[in-house]
Amino acid sequence: MNAYNFAYLDEQTKRMIRRAILKGLAVPGYQVPFASREMPMPYGWGTGGVQVSAAILTPEDRFKVIDQGADDTTNAVSIRKFFERTAGVAVTERTIEASVIQTRHRIPETPLREDQILVYQVPIPEPLRFLEPRETETRKMHSLQEYGLMHVKLYEDISRHGAIATSYAYPVKVAGRYVMDPSPIPKFDNPKLESDAIQLFGAGREQRIYAVPPHTRVVSLDFEDHPFDPTKADHSCDLCGADDSYLDEVIMDDAGGRMFVCSDADYCRDRREAGQSGAKAGALS
């Protein structure tokens, strides 16, 4: 424990990251470059999110990590352990108890509060990347607000599939200015980007940090005649019976058996502890 500075990174690095975070909060949706450090985990495991968490954690914080909504998957467990060991902070699996939540691919179903911070792990921060390969050009497009190309992608979706088929990392416009990649969250979660909590996005390999401050307008891009539709599986949770949460489809056997369960494990457990139950509530016990 004493071999590390609090939360692994040295204080100068944390100051540098905090400056990037403050700039990101001041210009919502703008990708702030920062000097990303090597972390003791591979790129793609959330090195950006980990650096942001390290820079904002205080000894009094209570930390939660989710990966695809669950607290007990490899990525979530290893990052939670990392900060338990290097920062000694308290950890929790309950959304309402946490002050800092690091997440990959989901926003918790329980609405977040003003005293909470949500940290996203971002693989590719540039929403225009696969449309325009040149970084110099995408930067110019952001600075001049030339976002027509983003709609070309949505047009292609409709012409090929009859509807906007983009179902995750669905592009949004933040505070009427910057088009932003919300990281690969399902588009079901897009409405939750307008939140009371601070939302910070860290991309380690790409060396970018961006942010959505509390109570900021976040609009999902769409067409007038093909409006944005936050879809989910047309089912309710087989464990807790919730019909308002994002669901995972779980294959049960090789005879076509399957069940739908809440992707947010904490939300599902809370509901079951409160006495709610779904169609196959006994299946996993």
């Binding site: 027509g148 190309l149 070309v152 047009y155 292609e156 012409s159 090929r160 769409d222 007038e224």
Partner: protein
């Protein structure tokens, strides 16, 4: 009548080499101007300077904008210039690949400019794309095909449709018929002539093919070593060339 484009003393040097030097001319609404000359004579440099793709070392390029009247495009802000580039200007590249998005369907290619200027209604974009495919004689059924699946002539026609969809007033064309075989060229020229007349479009056409200018251009500029050596009405210049280089150029063409 106010000229649509007034060019004054435009020069561009590449180090000590001359790209183009002290070019001046006026282009009036509805007029088609041809720029001819051999390879390396500075035609493309001039065109790129005028279209804002290169920054000239000196001179003025005054465009008669819809909103504010004549404005020097070299001193206007970059967002304004880029806005002109996707509304009132069209740029047709010699190679369709440079002007098209090869990974995007034909409909998406035509719709891009509309979406760039704020159109957010899928049905209307689709309708315009269909209409334009028809106007450039591409089968409407191919609206969802990618340009990769198109022949060279179709790609070039698609590029033209993509550029003209916002109803520009000035088109820059860099060897629009280069690399196409003669029958396809003839069809493309026919199409271009029709569109230019129908839309009242002004155009600057760079080419080394005298037949192209004979067919399309009202006026002609002959360039050599970065300078304009002769200018005038197309028929006049081609039938009675005054400058030694123009005489050489005209006499080099095989009479079919």
């Amino acid at each position: 009548m106010t000229p649509l484009l007034q060019v004054r003393n435009v020069s561009k040097r590449y180090g000590s080499r001359i790209g183009c030097a002290e070019v001046s001319f006026d282009l009036y609404p509805g007029e088609v101007m041809g720029i001819v000359g051999e390879s390396g004579s500075g035609k493309s440099t001039l065109l790129n300077c005028l279209a804002g793709k290169l920054t000239p070392d000196g001179g003025q390029v005054v465009f008669d904008t819809r909103m504010d009247g004549p404005v020097d495009t070299l001193t206007m802000s970059e967002p304004q210039r880029r806005m002109l580039g996707r509304t009132d200007w069209a740029f047709v590249h010699q190679h369709a690949r440079d002007g098209l998005r090869m990974g995007v369907s034909a409909g998406g290619n035509i719709g891009e400019r509309l979406m760039a200027v704020g159109e957010r209604h899928y049905g209307r974009i689709r309708g315009q794309a269909t209409d334009w495919l028809d106007r450039v004689e591409i089968d409407q059924a191919r609206i969802d095909d990618r340009p990769e699946a198109f022949s060279g002539g179709m790609q070039q026609r698609l590029q033209i449709a993509r550029n003209l969809v916002t109803g520009p007033r000035l088109a820059f064309m860099d060897e629009p018929t280069g690399g196409l075989d003669v029958s396809v060229q003839a069809r493309l020229l026919d199409l271009l002539r029709g569109l230019v007349r129908e839309m009242g479009l002004s155009a600057l056409i760079v080419t080394h093919d005298l037949a192209v200018v004979r067919l399309l251009a009202d006026r002609l500029m002959v360039m050599k070593d970065g300078r304009v050596v002769e200018a005038g009405l197309t028929d006049q210049v081609l039938d009675d060339p005054q400058h030694a280089y123009t005489q050489l150029l005209v006499s080099s063409v095989l009479q079919a």
